[in-house]
């Protein structure tokens, strides 16, 4: 089995975002770029699967659609333990372009299990994984919170509203993963960082693909009204306010 983990390169989750250019572009000044949290968990799970020889996972590859400036993030994934990497050299216009560029590469070089995160923490799309599956005509399972291989067959758990399903699905397939897929993300060890320097990153030039959507501008959230305090000794008053002022019950 070969596993591919698609990674997106996002601002660290604690970043206070700002925009420039008349609110049309993210101010990248001082931003620390990281592997999208779900992709980091997906990678961790892929490596766990590979380490158990009974799963017969030969390689774990990471893939990214983005310019060369994303390479430190790719190197980080290699340092955590991925064997090699793919990068499609373009700054994608939207999720459709990301999926389509990945699909082009994967049609020529297929993988048995393709892992995507449930969303990238920057544009909150939740779309690349499903799009990629449809383009490749692979089955897909989304909201996956566990992945194992049983007698050579992938088995996943999927969160549904108010419950969970265990689903068996034939490879090749796309799993769109969320919380639970791995417990904690792995951190790169010194040895990993050293060996990552020599691991291969295959760079592909992009195909001419147009996006379906475009961002016309950004807005900052309106500041909320100041908090109204109720004295702890008189906590019951809160119930009255919620009932009579906010009228929420």
């Amino acid at each position: 089995m070969k596993i591919l983990v698609c990674i997106s390169n996002v601002p660290d989750t604690t970043t206070k975002v700002k925009f420039v250019d008349d609110l049309r572009k993210l101010d990248v000044n001082g931003i620390q770029w990281v592997i999208n949290p779900w992709d980091e968990l997906a990678l961790t799970r892929a490596l766990e699967l590979k380490e158990d020889a009974s799963n017969a996972v030969q390689t774990v590859t990471v893939a990214h659609v983005g310019p060369a400036s994303a390479e430190p993030t790719i190197r980080k994934a290699l340092a955590i333990g991925a064997d090699d990497a793919i990068r499609v050299n373009t700054d994608p216009e939207d999720a459709y372009v990301v999926a389509a560029q990945l699909a082009e590469v994967l049609k020529a070089d297929p993988y048995d299990i393709v892992l995507c995160g449930i969303e990238s923490s920057d544009h909150n799309g939740s779309t690349v994984g499903g799009m990629l599956a449809e383009m490749l005509e692979y089955p897909s399972v989304s909201c996956v919170s566990s992945l194992r291989i049983e007698n050579g067959q992938p088995v996943v758990s999927r969160e549904i509203d108010g419950g969970k399903e265990t689903v068996s699905v034939p490879a090749p397939f796309v799993a769109v993963v969320q919380k639970g897929i791995a417990k904690e993300p792995r951190i790169a060890a010194m040895r990993g960082i050293m060996s990552a320097r020599t691991k291969p990153i295959r760079v592909f030039e992009p195909k001419a693909i147009e996006g379906l959507t475009g961002v016309t501008g950004y807005e900052m959230p309106k500041p909320r009204a100041a908090c109204k305090y109720v004295d702890a000794d008189n906590a019951g008053q809160l119930i009255e306010l919620l009932q009579n002022e906010a009228r929420v019950f």
């Binding site: 939740s126 499903g130 475009g214």
Partner: protein
């Protein structure tokens, strides 16, 4: 042309979100001068089928293929796309919940339709088609233009109110069936909680954090939720510790919710937690630390020990409820 809505049901009844979707779709259809058609896949009670008309659907298409117990993403995509094509739908609207996230992206490719996910407001304009959506996990918003003839939107749950708008309705039992060739996934086990309020559906959510101190202290919090008819939730460390089930964890890496009222009890208000709850209409914070960041997001606050405050709230609620 029409606006197509994908309805969801739970135990044979439409989920509340289905009616939110129809309410939203009716307004979008109004902007476009079109009609709303609602598609239901799966077994629903006969009395349910007319309900979407109450919120503005003028046609309900019901596909009750017995082979479709669980969502198979490929098979469902084919059915929804088939319906959309048949109707010549110009806009397809799904929820931004688990099912919507599973189906909308596949549909986007199938219908060559640009997608804006997690929208919470009506389109800014329909020509060009521009929608406002959350980005950076709630730290900002963007206006997204969908450039394709067919558009797909997924609506954030609880972000749009139910608006009654009764319409005469045609109910069409479709004989469409899932393509057996596409049904490649097999559900081998289902764990379903029944009879409980779905966290993502709830109007009121009572949530506890590490400030609750231990798994044993949850009694009064649960009691308060019970009295309010609320769902319960927690911060990530709480579910990591095993104090509460994983399904309750809200935040960037957990569930993203938008109830009318969210109680954050012993929760510091880390940015990743806020990412999951900041769309709540009202946030109430109870925290010993007056400088906890949660108070910046809250409209009501109590600076104090949750373990002492909660019993007082429960007592007051009982009094109010007994009146």
């Amino acid at each position: 042309m029409s606006v197509l809505v994908f309805l969801e049901n739970w135990d044979g009844r439409f989920k509340k979100l289905s009616f939110e979707l129809v309410s939203y779709a009716s307004k979008v259809a109004e902007m476009l001068g079109e009609e709303v058609v609602a598609l239901s896949i799966g077994q629903v009670d006969a009395s349910e089928l007319e309900k979407p008309a109450l919120y503005g659907a003028s046609k309900i298409v019901s596909i009750e293929d017995g082979n479709l117990k669980a969502v198979d993403e490929q098979a469902y995509t084919a059915l929804i796309a088939g319906t959309a094509n048949q109707l010549g739908a110009g806009v397809v609207i799904l929820s931004n919940n688990n099912n919507g996230k599973s189906l909308a992206p596949r549909l986007s490719v199938r219908l060559k339709a640009g997608i804006a996910s997690g929208v919470s407001r009506l389109p800014v304009s329909v020509n060009p088609f521009v929608v406002y959506k959350k980005v950076y996990s709630g730290k900002a918003f963007s206006n997204v233009e969908i450039k394709t003839p067919v558009k797909i939107l997924t609506l954030a749950q609880n972000s749009f109110e139910l608006i009654e708008n009764p319409k005469p309705v045609v109910i069409e039992k479709s004989t469409a069936q899932a393509d057996a060739q596409l049904l490649k996934t097999r559900v081998t086990e289902v764990e379903k909680q029944t009879g409980k309020i779905l966290l993502t559906d709830a109007d009121i959510v009572v949530s506890g954090g590490r400030g609750m101190r231990s798994a044993d202290n949850w009694g009064p919090l649960l009691e308060m939720a019970e009295l309010l008819g609320a769902a319960t939730a927690c911060s990530r460390p709480v579910s990591d510790e095993g104090w509460r089930p994983h399904g309750e964890h809200t935040g960037q890496t957990g569930k993203i919710i938008a109830p009318n009222l969210y109680f954050a009890i012993g929760i510091s208000g880390a940015i990743q937690h806020l990412a999951g709850i900041s769309s709540s209409k009202y946030i109430v914070a109870i925290n010993t630390d007056k400088d906890a960041p949660i108070f910046e997001a809250a409209q009501y606050g109590i600076v104090g020990d949750a373990l002492k405050v909660l019993p007082k709230l429960v007592e007051k609620l009982r009094e109010v409820k007994s009146k």
